[in-house]
């Protein structure tokens, strides 16, 4: 390691504040957003920065999330670095524009303070909102705590703006559990963040006259963005998005490593974060803050001689199927925990993707799907410990109790 870890400041922040602070340091040009619980602290905190002249950012308080995403896209298309934030119903209202933003290849960064979807109305944390946007063409990264929310927001700008990526990126943080919980957060200096993220670059495109011009709205180089594309070309546009996602798999790893050099912090390989998985007989796969509690449980079980392990999926889109396959190939039984529900799909969303990744193994682990925490339902450490105990039992008898279980459900 050649670069030196930079001296950092430790501040008490909740996840939302940590994100607002990261955005402030990333020299963002435009923030267009509409408030929704539990994301509100991000836009409120950022409004303070604007009001106190601490940022050089045009803050657009739009009249809806649909317009927030539209204005973000349009500002990004004009060449600006753009941030927005939302959750739940707000993200659902953006749905149409999420596809347009990724299809337009505009590298907008958005924080989503994950929250349940109506109906019935519920403001508490689960991941149904962004899981429902898994096919919208956005990079999706989920964090474990406020520190990672800060670090990942900074990384997200760099990842999204990589020229061979040029995709929007979403940073998911569990509503309330991370968004509203005060933690110690180590922050880098403004200069260090600025140097790390750098200025926004633009992909060069060739005009009909053969001229190379930056891909943005610019009166000096008139460009038609968002055209009407017939069957003869549409498919190719979509295939390019998949290619960009493949490139993102590489860039996320690289940027995770690069960030570790200046901050001393990394999150697994950037895609997945394994804990005591190497010789594990049983393992849980999870997305988000629950991984923090699970690590404690794993350590407890290990001290009791139980070979338990944990795999946190940090990057859900692009889905790191190869990495997950390799990480879990020697495990006997795997439980995949989904903090969202896909009614009618039989199992959780993350579960089906993980099981899909494991399918090609000659010797596959047994798998079970666990739906948990919907609408902010508390998940106690004893419930998590019980999952490992059940997995050990399944490992002994060679089969799992059920395909899907609803953890903590009153039945």
């Amino acid at each position: 390691m050649t670069a030196k870890v930079i001296k950092q400041e430790t501040t008490g922040m909740n996840g939302d504040e940590a994100i607002a602070f990261a955005v402030k340091q990333c020299d963002v040009d435009v923030v267009a957003a509409y408030p929704i619980t539990p994301q509100t602290i991000i836009v409120e905190k950022f409004s303070e920065y604007v009001a106190n002249g601490e940022v050089q950012t045009e803050f657009v308080c739009t009249e809806s999330e649909h317009s927030a995403m539209t204005a973000s896209l349009a500002a990004s298309a004009t060449g600006a670095r753009v941030f927005t934030a939302s959750a739940s119903a707000g993200l659902a209202l953006m749905h149409e524009m999420l596809f347009v933003t990724s299809g337009s290849r505009t590298p907008v960064v958005m924080a989503v303070a994950n929250r349940a979807l109506s109906s019935p109305l519920n403001i508490h944390g689960d991941q149904s909102d962004s899981m429902a946007e898994r096919d919208s063409g956005w990079i999706q990264m989920y964090v474990e705590n406020a520190q990672e929310a800060y670090d990942t927001t900074i990384q997200a700008f760099k990842i999204a703006e990589e020229l061979d990526v040029s995709l929007p990126a979403l940073v998911g943080l569990d509503g309330f559990t991370i968004s509203h919980t005060l933690e110690n957060v180590n922050t880098l200096s403004d200069d260090a963040v600025k140097a790390f993220v750098g200025e926004r670059k633009y992909p060069m495109v060739t005009t009909h006259e053969g001229k190379q011009v930056p891909f943005k709205l610019d009166p000096a180089n008139p460009m038609t963005m968002g055209p009407n594309v017939a069957p003869a070309f549409y498919f190719e546009f979509k295939r390019q998005q998949e290619e960009a996602m493949r490139n993102a798999l590489i860039k996320i790893r690289e940027i995770n490593a690069e960030y570790a050099k200046i901050s001393g912090r990394s999150y697994g390989n950037g895609l997945i974060d394994a804990h005591k998985l190497d010789d594990a007989e049983v393992a849980i796969v999870v997305v988000g803050s629950t991984a923090g509690t699970l690590k404690v449980i794993v350590d407890e079980l290990r001290s009791e001689g139980v070979k338990a392990g944990l795999l946190r999926i940090r990057t859900f889109r692009p889905f790191p199927a190869e990495e997950i396959k390799n990480a879990l190939k020697n495990v006997k039984v795997v439980a995949v925990m989904d903090k969202s529900m896909a009614p009618g799909a039989q199992t959780g969303t993350v579960f089906s993707e993980v099981r899909n990744a494991l399918f090609d193994l000659k010797q596959r682990p047994l798998t079970t799907s666990i739906i948990f925490g919907l609408g902010g339902r508390d998940t106690a450490p004893r419930d998590l410990r019980k999952i490992y105990e059940d997995l050990m039992k399944a490992a002994r008898v060679g089969q799992v109790d059920s395909l899907v279980r609803y953890l903590g459900l009153k039945e």
Partner: protein, 323 residues
Amino acid sequence: MTTQEWKFTAKDMAIKPDLFTSGHRACAGCAPAAVLRLVMKATRGPTIVTQATGCMEIVGSIYPYTSWNLPWLHTAFENAAANAAGIDAAIKIMQKKGKMSKEHIDIIALAGDGGTLDIGLQALSGAVERGHDFLFVLYDNEGYMNTGIQRSSSTPLGASTTTSPAGSVIPGKLETKKPITEIMLAHGMEYVATATPYYWKDLLTKVRKGLEVEGPAFLHVFAPCPRGWRSEPSKSMEYSKLAVESCIFPIWEAVNGIRQLSTPSKILQLAPQKKKPVKAYLEGQGRFRHLFLPKNSHVIDQIQSLTDARWAKLLKQCETATN
């Protein structure tokens, strides 16, 4: 806003290169396409155009071709004004930070009546309230023509569309046009105007005035659609004239809420005998054909009395303004 009067001569306009160029795929007699071409003739320098989904968006941007000889952005149907907001915010801050040349850039948002009065109204109201610097041009062909001639809130009373068909019981659309310009005036906008492509100099002047405003401006342009109106393609300009002469679509402008009739409508105020009956305008348009059946004649009477009442109200509004 300056009070300068621009001299848009036919010769100058013929010389000025088109920014919405030929080769687009609009139908014969399409007035919206003529409106777009005219609007672009009135631009004054670097300009970015953003457009809502609709006929005019489709016909000019069929990949890999384009009719737009300036930077152009389309994202969706309901959000032309939100596009303009994002572009405006980006330009402002990037010019301030020195990331972009300081030369002023005009922003024009284009939308049809669906993208303005209906699905696009929220984004428009929001962007105007926030004071973004852009000109919103509504080309009003009084229906969802792109999807096959369905009713909009801008479709006039009595018109037959595919979702308000003239049947044996119901004689076409039962509701009147949503008063979009009144809604925009209620936002306290510095510049709101109406125009038709027949009076092209008037249209160009209004576009330029709207661009001169430092903040949002709104222009409502009447734009006949031969396919949707079941009218002769050769008569689109004639209907653009008749709409004014019958006071179906009076043309005026309001600067800081002070409303004044534009000359073609002003003439009718001064010489009311020149005002044509609405029948003269309705005749020949297939969408109103059923109204000429004896059993539906009351609808024509209703259109006439509504038109007269609106005209009388407008004259008062202009009177109040000048006093």
